[in-house]
């Protein structure tokens, strides 16, 4: 496979990556409805919603005129990040996954700061909660993904023996990656930034028209990006380099999205003082185990 093929496949992958979240959100709503014994909206409902919003006017808010740019910059950095991840899938060099993760961190910053730009006390409260959760979840996600990617790459490429300590290290890193990835997608139990009833007057009320459509789309794109990273890092070392690896990665991303959707239906919303505490404790424990396992393997 030469670089031209890679570039074409990656470009097609980026386009798929940009359109998939809208359909997958419709699938998620349908699954939620089935599990709640009702018929629910059709799968294309999210698409209809976004199209309708884009056709409406934006009611002016007293904030920076560049607020749309924040959201557009999120989309731009996400595109770059998706491209990096896809390159990792084809080349299996960890530099690309590191680049992908740093671009993820940059894009998430612009998205997390958007509620703080809106002059509404509910929006500030929601924004602050979002910042707290982002700090905890992002650091855990980046750390655990890097750990997992480096360890598996070394194992696959250097073909070194698998000892129990390295297995422990891998499983705890994977667990942290899945949990923090799930928390990053902003589903129940961690969607408290906007969905808490007493705060339901923040960003989702102030934004309107194409601004609101852009905000909703960015949240969906964030979910896709996180899923893509998790699946690429887990699955690619097993498949190796092949022409179909990107297709397999996207297929498994869809499966992971469905699994996350089912998990969201079963749980309730956590509280802003309970969630960070539980999450921090869990992450510190798991990451400590992972690093210990790694050190034991390295020096034993």
């Amino acid at each position: 496979m030469n670089t031209l093929h890679y570039t074409i496949y990656s470009a097609i992958g980026v386009i798929i990556g940009l359109t998939l979240p809208v359909i997958l959100d419709g699938v998620e709503r349908k699954i939620k409805a089935i599990l709640q014994s009702r018929i629910g909206p059709p799968i294309t409902q999210t698409l209809y919603d976004l199209v309708k919003l884009v056709n409406k006017e934006i009611k002016p808010i007293h904030t920076s005129p560049f607020i749309l740019l924040y959201l557009l910059s999120f989309i731009a950095t996400s595109i770059a990040s998706i491209y990096m991840v896809e390159t990792y899938v084809y080349t299996l060099e960890s530099i690309y996954i590191t680049l992908g993760l740093s671009l993820l961190a940059v894009s998430l910053t612009s998205l997390t700061l958007t509620p703080l730009l809106v002059p509404n006390p509910f929006s500030y409260a929601g924004g602050m909660r979002e910042v707290i959760l982002a700090l905890i979840n992002e650091s855990a996600f980046i750390l655990s993904t890097t750990l997992y990617a480096t360890i598996t790459n070394n194992l696959v490429q250097l073909k070194s023996a698998t000892t129990p300590s390295i297995l422990l290290s891998i499983t705890t890193a994977a667990l942290t990656m899945f949990i923090s990835g799930y928390a990053l997608t902003g589903r129940v139990p961690f969607d408290m930034a906007e969905a808490e009833p007493e705060l339901a007057s923040g960003v989702l009320v102030e934004f309107s028209g194409s601004l609101l459509a852009a905000y909703m789309y960015c949240n969906l794109l964030k979910r896709l990006l996180v899923n893509l990273i998790i699946v690429s890092v887990t699955v690619t070392p097993l498949i190796g380099e092949s022409a179909y690896s990107l297709a397999a990665v996207y297929a498994l991303t869809i499966v992971l999205w469905v699994i996350f959707a089912i998990t969201a239906v079963i749980l309730g919303r956590s509280r802003i003082d309970l969630a960070p505490r539980t999450l921090t404790k869990t992450y510190i424990l798991l990451l400590a185990l992972s690093i210990t396992g790694l050190l034991v393997h390295a020096y034993a």
Binding site: I34, I39, V265
Partner: protein
């Protein structure tokens, strides 16, 4: 083992959802679920109605109103105020009101919501006023043994004649 069981308990909701299929109905493309006892709007039969006004007295929100004019008495039913309690059906002496299962009553033209039943009034032979309806007079003739002395009068004149008749019998002259 029981700790694992307790942790897995929330997942049982999937089992519950599996047992009960979808319970919602694609209304208006499918029929809504109504029980046999459902109360909808009412229908008044203009042939049977005698214009007595019993339903107007009983109606709690005043959806049924009697509009008086010189020669006509009109019963007006305004669906917008009706609470579908069916009290009018309970009290109608001739059974002119029927209950239906209609509840899809929205319309673009508010005048569609009014139903009018117009009765002509009968003239009183002594004072010349028109007070009760023709059908009401016929109903009274059917239901009670009333003599020609009273049947063509309005209720007030009937009362006066009756009192005069009694006072004539007892005292011997017309009282006032």
């Amino acid at each position: 083992m029981s700790i694992v069981k307790k942790a897995i308990k929330p997942v049982e909701v999937l089992v519950i959802a599996g047992k009960t299929k979808r319970v919602t109905v694609k209304y208006p493309y499918q029929e809504p679920i109504l029980s046999p006892e459902f109360r909808g709007s009412i229908e008044i039969n203009p042939e049977k109605c005698i214009g007595c006004g019993a339903c107007v007295n009983a109606c709690p929100p005043n959806a049924l109103e009697m509009i008086e004019s010189q020669d006509k008495k009109t019963l007006r039913y305004y669906v917008g105020r009706c609470i579908f309690c069916w009290r009018c059906i309970d009290v109608c002496p001739v059974g002119a009101i029927k209950g239906t299962r209609n509840f899809e009553l929205a319309t673009n033209d508010p005048l569609d919501l009014y139903t009018y039943i117009v009765h002509s009034k009968a003239e009183c032979s002594s004072c010349g006023n028109k007070v009760e309806t023709v059908k009401m007079r016929k109903y009274i003739m059917q239901k009670s043994p009333i003599t020609e002395n009273y049947v063509n009068k309005c209720p007030d004149c009937r009362k006066k004649s009756f009192i005069n008749a009694i006072s004539t019998r007892k005292v011997g002259f017309h009282g006032e």
